[in-house]
Amino acid sequence: MGEHKDRNIECVLAILQKKNPASTKEIMAMRDLFPKLCAGCASGGDVVLAGKSLVEKGIVERKWSSIGFIWELVSDPGYEK
């Protein structure tokens, strides 16, 4: 996980490891659990951007639902190389 330089990405990953899958709104609500990691993750826009970058890496899948995007951790970020 150390290779994820971007703290917002680490923030989203840490939250998804607690609650998987989770909506953008749920991720936003859980930021307080990781105050240091999530300090820069100020808006849902940061969550969406971090989530999209995890989708590109194949670590997370994104689905659209009536409550917005649902982000699901599909591979262990620790093994991602």
Binding site: S23, T24, K25, S43, G44, V47, W64, G68
Partner: protein, 429 residues
């Protein structure tokens, strides 16, 4: 082309062609750009002007700089740009125009350099962009002077009586947003300026969202200072304008000092004495963004060729259609006045039942439509205080989506958007 009343007719489809960004498919989809309140797109005329500088000049200009042929032409073109800007806002004199990086820098210059005493107060409103509020909050804290707020009404309009209550004979300056980037409200600036002047107070008007969309006449308004954001007016990024009445600019202290602001720096008897140039040079420290000024000049030409009244008229048609369309769907709360005539062509909205984060909505329109990407901004638009006032909590991640239109948009795009929004409302029901 003129109509039978002799009024210039604008062929809007031709205008759109000047913006190649809109004539591309992005990831195979058509782009609908509804984010002009953040950043306006740039027509070819603007990049041609900038390209000319970078390709054929590339030199430094301005007072006391190189006088070779390239430096001279750079100076001539940038002074021409200053003249164009003077006429664009109807200032009295070219020396009242100061180039800045953006509107924020202009506001910081005023807030930091205006003579202010502890017993004086600064007045601003709850609807200000943070850039029109925080520089003044910071300064008032530094000096220990009172910082007063006029509360906008919850519909984003103002009650003039509230200004009469807050502005008094101790008010030094009123910082005020002419057109809001959140609610689109066009405020009664002239009346507010009159109240301020009756009390001997100065006014700085934030024109970032007004000047690109309607005729700004600083002389007629009698505003003391105004700031403009050129990147919202089809111009290049990194260029802004600060306007100030000349005698007031003379009174202001320096903001940045160094090269290009001085007449002489004398070393005598072991002492350094700096002699500064008069405005506008005294506020333009260091080598400047010459290419940007030329781009700004082309942008202003471009807008004036269309005609600011034509732009305002066109945007009112957009505003009416967009506002009424969103309201008709009846699933979204709209921020700001419900009368389109009181607005610029931007609408901020959010779902009435907020189970969904606003950023997801912007991303839905960016990514999930089959044929289009509708580009809007989601967030708090740097106007947190007003959102707290109306019961939203930016801290808890609550915000809005903003659709903001400009000269290159079309009615057809609004229709596509409204139809997609209606479908979207059904999905989240």
């Amino acid at each position: 082309m003129k109509n039978n009343k002799g009024v210039k007719m604008v062929v809007w489809s031709r205008i759109r062609k000047d913006f190649p960004v809109l004539n591309q498919l992005y990831e195979g989809k058509n782009l609908i750009y509804f984010d002009s309140a953040c950043m306006a797109l740039k027509p070819v005329q603007v990049w041609n002007a900038m390209e000319y500088y970078y390709k054929y000049l590339g030199a430094c200009g301005g007072a006391g700089r190189s006088t070779h042929c390239l430096g001279l032409e750079t100076s001539l073109l940038t002074e021409e740009a200053r003249k164009k800007m003077t006429s664009f806002i109807n200032a009295s004199d070219v020396n009242e125009i100061i180039w800045t990086r953006n509107a924020t820098e202009g506001l910081n210059i005023i807030a930091a350099t205006i003579p202010l005493k502890k017993e004086q107060n600064i007045v601003t409103t709850t609807l200000e962009h943070h850039s029109g509020m925080l520089p003044f909050l910071k300064r008032s804290k530094e000096v220990g002077s009172e910082f007063r707020l006029v509360r906008a009404k919850n519909d984003g309009t103002f009650d003039i009586a509230d200004f009469e209550k807050q502005i008094d004979d101790n008010t030094k300056i009123v910082s005020f947003v002419h057109a809001s980037n959140l609610t689109g409200t066009i405020a009664p600036l002239k009346e507010i300026i009159e109240i301020a002047h009756d009390h001997g107070a100065l006014v700085v008007s934030d024109e970032a969202q007004y000047a690109p969309h309607a005729k700004l006449d600083v002389k007629n308004l009698d505003t003391d200072f105004s700031v403009l954001s050129i990147h919202k007016a089809c111009g290049p990024t990194g260029v802004g304008v600060l306007y100030g009445k000349y005698d007031l600019l003379e009174e202001l202290d320096m903001f940045l000092v160094g090269g290009d602001v001085i007449e002489d720096v004398i070393y005598e008897n072991g002492q350094i004495t700096a002699k500064y140039l008069p405005p506008p040079q005294k506020f333009e420290a260091g080598l400047q963004n010459y290419g940007g000024m030329m781009g700004a000049s082309a942008a202003v030409d471009y807008l004036q060729n269309i005609g600011m009244d034509n732009i305002r008229q066109r945007e009112q048609v957009f505003s009416k259609k967009l506002l009424e369309g969103i309201l008709e769907i009846d699933k979204f709360d709209v921020l700001g006045p419900l009368d389109y005539k009181q607005r610029t062509a931007l609408v901020s909205f959010r779902p009435k039942s907020a189970e969904i984060n606003h950023n997801d909505i912007a991303e839905y329109f960016n990514d999930m439509l089959p044929q289009h990407k509708i580009l809007m901004r989601a967030g708090n638009m740097c106007v947190h205080p007003f959102q707290y006032q109306i019961g939203m909590s930016p801290a808890k991640g609550e915000g809005i989506i903003r659709a903001s239109l400009y000269i290159y948009n079309t009615i057809n795009e609004i229709e596509i958007f409204l139809s997609a929004l209606e479908d979207f409302a059904k999905i989240i029901e």
